[in-house]
Amino acid sequence: MEHIVIIGNGISGVTAARHIRKLSNKKITIVSAETKHFFSRTALMYIYMGHMKYEHIKPYEDWFWEKNRIELKLGFVNQIDTTSKTLHFEKGDSLNYDKLIIATGSKPNKFGWPGQDLKGVQGLYSKQDLDNLEIYAPDNTVCKRAVIVGGGLIGIELAEMLHSRHIPVTFLVRENSFWNGVLPEGESEMINREIIRNGIDLRLATNLKEIISDTTGKVKSIIIEETGEEIPCDVVGLTAGVSPNINFIKDSGIETNRGVLVNRFLETNIPDIYAIGDCAEQHEAIGNRRAIEAVWYTGRMMGETGAQTICDNRLEYKPGHWFNSAKFFDIEYQTYGWVHGKKGQPDYETHFHWKHEDDNKCITIAFHKESRQFLGINTFGIRMRHEFFNRVLSENRSVEYVLEHLADANFDPEFYKHFEFEIQKEFEVKTLDLI
C-alpha cells in the first residue's frame, strides 16, 4: 500500500489527508511537532479571550482520525532524505514515505531587531505562542503593558486579545494608516478609529528600533526609531507578517526560494514530493495573487487540489476568484474579487466608496474605469454573499449591475437595517460627478 506522509497538520495538510482518504485506500500519516490533533489556527485568539477552550477549536473529534485511518505522529522532522525517501526526526527515529506532502505553514517574521529573541518577545502563530502568551501576559499585573509591532491581521487580533484581559497595548504600525498596503484609504482610516475607540494606543508611521532586556533576559522596554521614546513593557508581539516555515528543508535538495518552489500542480523539483499551503511558493504568481499565499482558504484549496494529484488525477491548482475575510475588533470584513489599496492600485481600477455615518460600516467597490466592469468589493460591517460575487465576477458584470442587485448580495441576519438604497443613491451622485 502506498504510504502518503504529510508534514504539518494545519488546514492544508489535513484537507489533503481527508480528500486522499475519500479518494483512495492509501496509508496516510500526518506528522506534526505542534499538537497531536488538528486545530483551527485562526481560532487560537479565542482561547486566550476565554470564548473557547482548546477542545472547541478542534474541528474533528479525536476518534475521527482512527476511524478514517489517518495516522498521527507527533515529532519534529530534522531532515528529509529524498533518495531513500526517509524522514529523520529530531529524536532520532525515522519514517519512510512513498509520497510526501510538505505543509509546514509559516513562522512569524523577525527583521533582525536587537532583542528580538528575548523572553516575552513573540509572534502569534502556533499553539506554543499561545502558551507563551499565557505565561508572559496572563493578566494586567504580570503584564503592565504590551507593545505590538506590525500592523496586519495578526497584529490587530493580538491587540484585541490583550485588550480583552485589560492589558494596555501600544500598537506600532509602520505605515501611516493601518493595513493601507491592502485597504483603500477610507477603510483603513475607519479601522484606525476602531482601534483607538477600543482603547489601543495606536502609533502610526512608527518603527521599532530595539527591544531592551532586563537583567534576567526578559523584555523590559522598547525604543521607537523615529522619536527615541522608550516604552516600558512586559510583552512584545512581533506581527510583521509571516514567512514559510521551511528551515529543515534547506539541505534536502528540494528547490526553495522564500518558500518551497512548486509548479501549478503543486509538485516540487523532486518527484513524489509536493508542497501546499503557506509554505508553498509558485514559480510565478497566479493572476493578482502573491506567489506565496498565506491564507486559510488557499491552504484548504491547495489541499483539495493536491489530494487529486496524489490520487492519480493530476490537477492544476487553479484558484477561483479571490476572497478573504477578517474581523477588526467588532467590525467584520469580507472581500470578493480585487480591490487594491493606494499602493498596488492599477491605472484602470477606480473605486466607489460609501461609509455609514455610524463609522462602523463601509464598502468599497472597484471597477474598470472604461469598461465599467466590476472588479471587486470590500465590505465592512455588512455581510455579503460569496456566491453572488463569485457569479458576477465570472459573468464579467458591470458595476451598475452589481449596484442594482446589491440587495441579493446581502447576508446580514434577518431584520437588520438595509443600506442598498442609500448606497445606490450615493453611487448615482458620485458617478454624476465623475462624468
Binding site: 483551527s40 473557547m52 474541528p59 475575510s325 467584520e332 456566491e387 447576508f411
Partner: protein
C-alpha cells in the same frame, strides 16, 4: 429558579475579568432581595405587602443594575470574553453549587411544596407562599400556591435577564425582536392572562388554568378529563379554547413551522425556551457537541414523544364512551383516528422523504410505528377498562412524574450550569420533537452557509445551545437543516466571518452537500460534486 437570579452573576474570576465596584454593589442589592425571600421561609414574622414589593424591587434593581454596568459602556458586539474563565459559566465550583441549589429548589417545588409554606389541605399559607399571597390576590383574587410563586419568579427571570440579553445583543435586531417576543409571551400569555381568566371563574362558569401558547404535547395534560369537561361546560368560550388547543396542534403549528421553522415557537414564544434564552444564556456553551450526544438525543427525545402519544391516547380513551348515539367521538372512533393519522404520517414520510432519513432514523421510525400500532391492536383483545396493557392513570402519573417533573424541571432547569440551558428542549421536549421532525422534513427554514468563508474556528458550535456541531456543516459549505435547531441565531451572531444566516427560502436546494467549497476553480468543483 430564584437562586439562579444572583448566582449566575457572581463569582467572576477576579484577576482577568474583575467585577467592578458598581457591579458588586448591585450584586449585594440583589442578594438582599433574595435573602428576604429566604427569610420568609422561617416564618419569623408576618411580612407585609411592602416587604414583598421591596424584595422584588431589590432583586430587579440588582439584576438590571449589574447588567447595565456590565454592558452599557462597552462597544456593541460579541461579549464572550472570559466565558470559560468564570467559574459559573464553565462548570466551576459556583456552577456546580448553583446547579445543586437549583435542583434542590425544584425538588422542593414539585414534591415538598409545603416546605415553601403551601397550606396543607386548604389551610392558610405560610412562609414564602404566603409572602406572595397579596400579589396573587391582586391578580386572580385568591391566595398564592407554590405554582404562583414559581410563575412569578419565572416571569421575573425572563424579564430581568431578558433585559440583560437585550443589552448584550443590542447590535443585533434579530436577537432583540426575539427577546422582546419571549418576554411578551411570558408576561402576557403565561402569567397575566391565565390569572385574569381565573378571576372570571364563578360558580356557574369555570375554565381551567390555561396558558394559550402552551401547546400539547408540551402541555401534556391539556386533554385530561377534568379539563375537557370544564372546557365543554364553559359554553362557547370554553369550546372555542378547546378547539383552539386542537387547532394549534394540527393546523397553526404545521403552517408556521413550514414557513419559519420551529424557531417561531421554540425561541420566540415558548416559556421553556424563553427562560433558556434569557436566564439560561450564560450557560449555552455547556451543551455537549459530540456525535454520541447527538445519537442519545435522537433516541431519548423521540421516545418521549412516543410516550406522550401513548399516554394521551390512553387518557382520552379512558373517558370516552362506547355509544355513538350519545356522542360521535367514541372510544373506537378515537382509537382508529389516532392509528389512521399516525399511519398516514408514517406512510407519507417513508414514500417522499425516505432518502433524507439516516439508517438509524428509518429503523427507529419503523420500530416506534410498529410499537404504537401493536399496542393499539392489543386493545381489541384486551379487557376494555385498560387501553394497551397499562392503566391510563398509571401512564399519566408516570409521565407527569418522570417527564413533567423530573426531566423538564429538575434536570431541565436545575442542571443549566452543568449541561447547558437547553437540556430539556434538546433531550426531552416532545413538542420540540414534533416541530423538529417537521422542520427537517417540510420547512422553508435553514441556516445558509456563505460559500467558502468558514475558518473552522468553532464559535458557532461552541455557542450552540442545542449542541449542534454547526461548524461541521459550515466548513463543508453545507446548509444546516437540523431538527433540533431552535433558530436562536447565536451561531450567526458569534461567527467572526459572516458565514451563517438564518433564513426562510424555497425547499428546493435547501440541503446542499458539497465536496468542495466555493473559491476553488469551478471545473474542480464540478468534477468533485458530480461524483
Amino acid at each position: 429558579m430564584s437562586q439562579k437570579l444572583n448566582h449566575s452573576l457572581s463569582l467572576a474570576k477576579p484577576d482577568a475579568y474583575h467585577t467592578s465596584g458598581k457591579q458588586k454593589l448591585f450584586l449585594a442589592i440583589g442578594m438582599i432581595g433574595l435573602f428576604v425571600l429566604v427569610l420568609t421561609l422561617f416564618n419569623f414574622d408576618e411580612f407585609s405587602v411592602w416587604s414583598l414589593i421591596s424584595a422584588i424591587s431589590l432583586i430587579a434593581l440588582g439584576i438590571t443594575g449589574f447588567a447595565t454596568d456590565a454592558y452599557i459602556n462597552k462597544p456593541e458586539g460579541i461579549k464572550n470574553n472570559g466565558v470559560w474563565f468564570k467559574s459559573i459559566s464553565s462548570r466551576g465550583l459556583s456552577g456546580w453549587l448553583t446547579g445543586l441549589v437549583l435542583t434542590l429548589f425544584y425538588i422542593v417545588l414539585y414534591f415538598y411544596p409545603y416546605l415553601l409554606g403551601l397550606g396543607k389541605d386548604g389551610s392558610e399559607n405560610s412562609g414564602l407562599v404566603a409572602f406572595f399571597d397579596p400579589l396573587s390576590k391582586l391578580l386572580n383574587g385568591g391566595p398564592a400556591s407554590q405554582w404562583f410563586v414559581y410563575g412569578t419568579l419565572y416571569t421575573m427571570a425572563i424579564l430581568l435577564f431578558g433585559y440583560k440579553f437585550l443589552l448584550k445583543y443590542r447590535h443585533n435586531r434579530y436577537e432583540q425582536l426575539r427577546t422582546y417576543s419571549v418576554m411578551f409571551f411570558q408576561l402576557a400569555f403565561a402569567f397575566l392572562i391565565p390569572e385574569f381568566m381565573a378571576r372570571l371563574n364563578s360558580e356557574t362558569f369555570s375554565l381551567p388554568y390555561y396558558d394559550l401558547k402552551n401547546i400539547w404535547p408540551l402541555n401534556y395534560y391539556n386533554f385530561e378529563q377534568y379539563r375537557v369537561d370544564s372546557f365543554i361546560s364553559a359554553g362557547d368560550v370554553g369550546l372555542g379554547i378547546l378547539i383552539f388547543g386542537v387547532a394549534s396542534i394540527f393546523i397553526i403549528t404545521p403552517i408556521l413551522t413550514y414557513k419559519y421553522g420551529k424557531r417561531w415557537y421554540c425561541s420566540w414564544v415558548c416559556g421553556c425556551g424563553g427562560l433558556a434564552e434569557t436566564a439560561g444564556d450564560p450557560f449555552r456553551q455547556l451543551s455537549d457537541k459530540s456525535q454520541v450526544a447527538w445519537k442519545i438525543e435522537r433516541w431519548i427525545v423521540h421516545s418521549v414523544l412516543v410516550f406522550v402519544v401513548l399516554m394521551t391516547t390512553a387518557v382520552i380513551y379512558s373517558y370516552l364512551g362506547y355509544d355513538s348515539e350519545k356522542y360521535w367521538l367514541t372510544k373506537d372512533v378515537f382509537l382508529l383516528s389516532v392509528a389512521g393519522f399516525l399511519t398516514l404520517i408514517f406512510t407519507l414520510t417513508m414514500i417522499f422523504k425516505r432518502h433524507e432519513l439516516g439508517k438509524d432514523a428509518r429503523y427507529g421510525a419503523i420500530g416506534y410505528f410498529v410499537i404504537i400500532l401493536a399496542l393499539i391492536g392489543f386493545h381489541y383483545f384486551s379487557n376494555q377498562s385498560k387501553l394497551f396493557i397499562f392503566e391510563a392513570e398509571t401512564l399519566r402519573s408516570s409521565y407527569g412524574f418522570l417527564i413533567g417533573a423530573i426531566f423538564s424541571g429538575v434536570i431541565g432547569t436545575g442542571f443549566y450550569p452543568i449541561f447547558g440551558n437547553r437540556v430539556w428542549c434538546r433531550f426531552g421536549c416532545p413538542m420540540a420533537a414534533i416541530l423538529g421532525f417537521q422542520q427537517r422534513m417540510l420547512s422553508k427554514f435553514r441556516i445558509t452557509t456563505n460559500g467558502g468563508q468558514c475558518i473552522s474556528c468553532g464559535n458557532c458550535s461552541t455557542y450552540c445551545e442545542m449542541g449542534i456541531d454547526v461548524r461541521a456543516y459550515a466548513q463543508k459549505g453545507e446548509n444546516i437543516v437540523r431538527s433540533s435547531c431552535v433558530g436562536c441565531g447565536i451561531c450567526s451572531a458569534v461567527c467572526p466571518r459572516g458565514v451563517l444566516k438564518l433564513e426562510n427560502d424555497s425547499m428546493k436546494g435547501r440541503i446542499n452537500p458539497n465536496e468542495i467549497l466555493l473559491g476553488n476553480d469551478v471545473d474542480l468543483m464540478d468534477l468533485l460534486n458530480q461524483k
